[in-house]
């Protein structure tokens, strides 16, 4: 949800800027559009659809995640000329690296998980097991490879919505925000910004 909020914020900001400048919002020209949909299907089945995600074994879910993210990396690479796409590629590559290094899931420590669900629920889970039906796996920091790329950041406690995210997620959110905001900025002004 937090990444969709970044997408929505970028789009609305771009629309507002274009309206303020009295010019139309440019629709991003995306190549190989179909690839994004095809690449997402394995994750849709393994993590998002309640009817299928509970039936898919963990090993297959991990394979689905790595396959899907590799295809999405290809899709992003094909569209690398879009503004902000390099940030997205960097974020995706960082997430994919830590996921592959830890057996196909994004690691999360029991301490970080305790901020999302009651501590008793975390204690009842085995270290090394999946964290619900999501993309995360519960791992001790000492057993985590590339721990600095794992889901280790949290929003402030006072925020209405609690979520943990990785460094890669920050790059992805920044990339999509900039990509969609950029569509509302006139080309001449954009060139000026690039020179700064």
């Amino acid at each position: 949800m937090i990444l969709l909020l970044a997408l929505l914020a970028g789009w609305l900001s771009g629309l507002a800027y274009a309206r303020w400048q009295k010019r139309p919002y440019q629709i991003p020209t995306i190549n190989y559009l179909w690839l994004a949909f095809v690449a997402f299907i394995p994750q849709l089945l393994a993590f998002y659809l309640p009817a299928t995600r509970s039936r898919i074994p963990d090993g297959l879910a991990a394979a689905n995640l790595v396959t899907s993210q590799t295809l999405l990396l290809g899709f992003a690479w094909m569209n690398r000329r879009l503004a902000g796409m390099w940030l997205l590629i960097l974020g995706l590559a960082l997430n994919l690296a830590v996921i592959i290094a830890n057996g196909g899931f994004m690691p999360i420590s029991p301490e970080t998980a305790g901020h999302l669900i009651p501590a008793a629920a975390v204690q009842s889970m085995n270290v090394g097991s999946r964290f619900g039906f999501g993309k995360d796996v519960l791992l001790l920091p000492g057993d985590t490879r590339l721990a600095w790329l794992s889901d280790r950041f949290l929003l402030p406690d006072w925020f209405f919505y609690q979520v943990t995210f990785s460094l890669g997620d920050i790059f992805i959110a920044s990339g999509i925000f900039w990509l969609l905001l950029r569509q509302g900025i006139p080309l001449i002004q954009h060139e000026r910004l690039k020179r700064l």
């Binding site: 949800m1 937090i2 990444l3 969709l4 970044a6 997408l7 789009w11 919002y25 629709i27 991003p28 995306i30 559009l33 994004a36 949909f37 690449a39 997402f40 994750q43 993590f47 998002y48 309640p50 995600r53 899907s68 993210q69 999405l72 899709f75 992003a76 997205l88 974020g91 995706l92 997430n95 996921i99 994004m106 999360i108 998980a113 999302l116 669900i117 629920a121 964290f131 619900g132 039906f133 999501g134 993309k135 995360d136 889901d151 919505y161 609690q162 979520v163 943990t164 995210f165 990785s166 890669g168 997620d169 992805i172 959110a173 999509i176 990509l179 969609l180």
Partner: protein, 47 residues
């Protein structure tokens, strides 16, 4: 009823090719960020 049909017809005419292109582009980008990211809110625990 006739008025409602006319309103619907007007609305459909307003949805042009560009709106559909924008919808597909946003949908593809949503797939990309949802698939590329791995944030977790713990929402799937126990469901």
């Amino acid at each position: 009823m006739k008025n409602k049909l006319m309103q619907l017809s007007l609305l459909i005419h307003k949805i042009n090719r560009q709106h559909i292109q924008l919808a597909f582009a946003l949908l593809a980008l949503a797939m990309l960020v949802l698939g590329a990211g791995a944030p977790d809110s713990g929402g799937s625990i126990g469901k």
